[in-house]
Symmetry: C2
Subunit: 394 residues, 2 copies
């Protein structure tokens, strides 16, 4: 186990009716004027935005609103948000929704206090020193952004989708998590969220750092539990227990707990980001295509953890089977699980045509340099081969 620092100071306010605590939480953390950043009309039409606004007003806090943040939030939407935040002189950002408004709110929070282009903090030109505080009302469990210091923004001009991690300044002060608010999520979004949160654990689980027995064991337990709860949810989307367990799992998958003391990988996420940047598919749907291809490709060069994954997470019975067979069966079971969720594991099917692999690999190279990931360090040729595997995947 490597040395590590772990600090997860976000206050999670979890459970039925929790959104009525929004105003109190904002007041507790010192907000005087809040910019509410949100995405879909569902937030308004369901009455959620009204409940939140009432709670904020009751707490004596001022607010203004910036809606319309789309999935894979763009740099353009961040610039617009920064303008509004500066004009309205807000001192707090409140994201309502899933990863997209949360990540946009974090980017706005960085941009408002910076004396340079916020995009510099994403493309690696410079590092931010501070940000406005951010709070969250979560309605889509997936990105884990409600408890992380991460933010992913897509620059629509340069076609770059880049993830950053600034835990000291970007972790939300509080996150309001009411599982009931996810009842109305379409199944496709629920399924994509499940794939995404599981991937956040894989990116940490598949590591060569030795002696990480404890974190590996509880990561496996969380993965198994997500799969169990997902199958319940598929049959009964209004099952509070399954919604609650999945929501909490999504937070633990990405608040750092599953990565303590380990070198993390993140190749699959970066391979996927090129797909969603160029073809604008849902991130989780892209991961369902990339992850099995990445696993198959890596299994020849570094089978150890994939073997453990097959047995401990995918419940493959190892009796009488070779390592290769066990791993192959594990990957097959994972694909079956994605298919059960209603997702394809074939890249051509996902984007509805032939992907431009050269385009994606060239972009990867520009964004990430010559190699990707740590579990198996991937050259750009390896990345090309993984995309090809995904194109022909069953």
């Amino acid at each position: 186990m490597n040395n590590f620092n772990f600090c997860s100071p976000t206050e999670f306010i979890f459970g039925k009716g929790a959104q009525t605590e929004t105003g109190n939480a904002l007041k507790k953390y010192g907000a005087r004027k809040v910019l509410i950043v949100h995405g879909s009309d569902r937030i308004k039409s369901s009455g959620l935005l009204g409940q939140i606004e009432k709670s904020i007003t009751d707490a004596g806090v001022e607010f203004c609103e910036y809606g319309g943040i789309l999935p894979n939030p763009t740099a353009g939407s961040v610039y617009e948000g920064i303008d509004i935040a500066l004009k309205e002189k807000v001192d707090f950002l409140l994201a309502v929704g899933g990863g997209s408004p949360i990540d946009a709110a974090k980017a706005i929070a960085l941009g408002v206090v910076a004396d340079e282009d916020f995009w510099n903090f994403y493309n690696g030109t410079s590092k931010p020193r501070s940000a406005l505080p951010v709070g969250v009302v979560l309605t889509i469990p997936a990105a884990g952004s409600e408890g992380s210091g991460n933010s992913v923004i897509t620059n629509e001009i340069t076609h770059q989708k880049i993830s950053v991690r600034y835990p000291d300044i970007l972790r939300p002060k509080f996150s309001i998590m009411n599982p009931e608010l996810t009842y109305s999520l379409p199944w496709f979004q629920t399924a994509c969220g499940i794939v995404d949160m599981m991937a956040h654990i894989y990116e940490r689980y598949f590591s060569n750092t030795p002696d990480t027995g404890l974190v590996d064991s509880y990561s496996e337990a969380i993965l198994r539990e997500i799969m169990d709860q997902a199958l319940t949810l598929k049959l009964d989307g209004d099952n509070y227990s399954a919604r609650a367990n999945v929501m909490w799992a999504g937070t633990l998958a990405h608040n750092g707990l599953c990565g303590v003391g380990k070198i993390e990988d993140w190749a699959s996420h970066r391979l996927e980001h090129e797909i969603s940047a160029f073809y604008n598919v849902a991130h989780g749907a892209g991961l369902a295509v990339i992850i099995p291809a990445w696993m198959s490709y890596c299994s020849k060069r570094n089978p150890d953890k994939l073997w453990r994954f097959a047995i401990n997470v995918m419940s493959v019975d190892p009796a009488g089977k070779s390592t290769d067979q066990i791993i192959e069966e594990g990957i097959c079971e994972l694909k079956n699980f994605y298919h059960d969720l209603g997702l394809t594991t074939n890249l051509r099917m996902l984007i509805g045509g032939e992907p431009d692999i050269d385009l994606m690999v060239n972009s990867l190279h520009r964004n990430m340099g010559d190699t990707l990931g740590c579990y198996v360090p991937l050259s750009m040729e390896d990345c090309r081969n993984i995309y090809k595997l995904a194109v022909d995947s069953e």
Copy 2:
């Protein structure tokens, strides 16, 4: 799953050489003059205290020292610490050691800023509004106090050992955790620590709150891992990996993560506190006696979770066995594990004579009222029977 608030803001600075970060951490969290609270001479003779003092001096922070805190720290030692802290005008407490100096430091932190007797915050007379900040250099993984808002103090005049939980003001700002510092721990203390951290999970695991699949699953994973690592440590006390995994498990066992959304029990801890209050035995050694007795007693009235525990934690094969047999085998395996650690599960053996059960039950009644615990609400007669079971336990 019940509604919950979870916030664990402590910064954990974990790994080899971490103690050299003490000064920087104190400075980061605003300390100007620190009272170092510690226990054993081992801290001094090992050179650890010198390293810490150098680190503090290098960071430009002043310090003074209060040593000699004994296991089961007393109210008397807290009063003495409060006097020193006031006289020296310190603004920060740094505990170096295990649960005893940490809990004493927390009590001093409460007492210094209070305009009443600190004991009022323990015996239930009043609630504290604030405390001085506390930092930790952990040398004994057991109590979990390095990440919790809890403190346990024994009043030697009134013979009361009382635990309080004030997470908003008592969670340490930072905890420095170097597993190498635990190499020199005598095996008995290592073993007692292992029993204690496992018990912190049991107190949350054995709950009647429904639909807590996720937290139950990762709790089970942590329990299994502690047992595996403990058996490695018994053969090789200088095994860094096992020391590191056990140390991190001790923190997760008690920082609240394993209790989210659940009604907790804590009967076993309270039953044990009477033993260590009257017979001054190590807390972990007392728990090894009480927990199997508590499990046996509760198994008739509420078998469900004990059945799951036997299978998922103690790895009992359920095939062809009745529920009773499965539970009994699980408890038997747990006793065997305690015996492997070199601990007795018999109360008479533990205290070297016949316990005064009336004395303990009367004290329990005075401290806790008419009932204890939630998994099976125990009357004072039940508590008496559990002590009796422990007296005759194998």
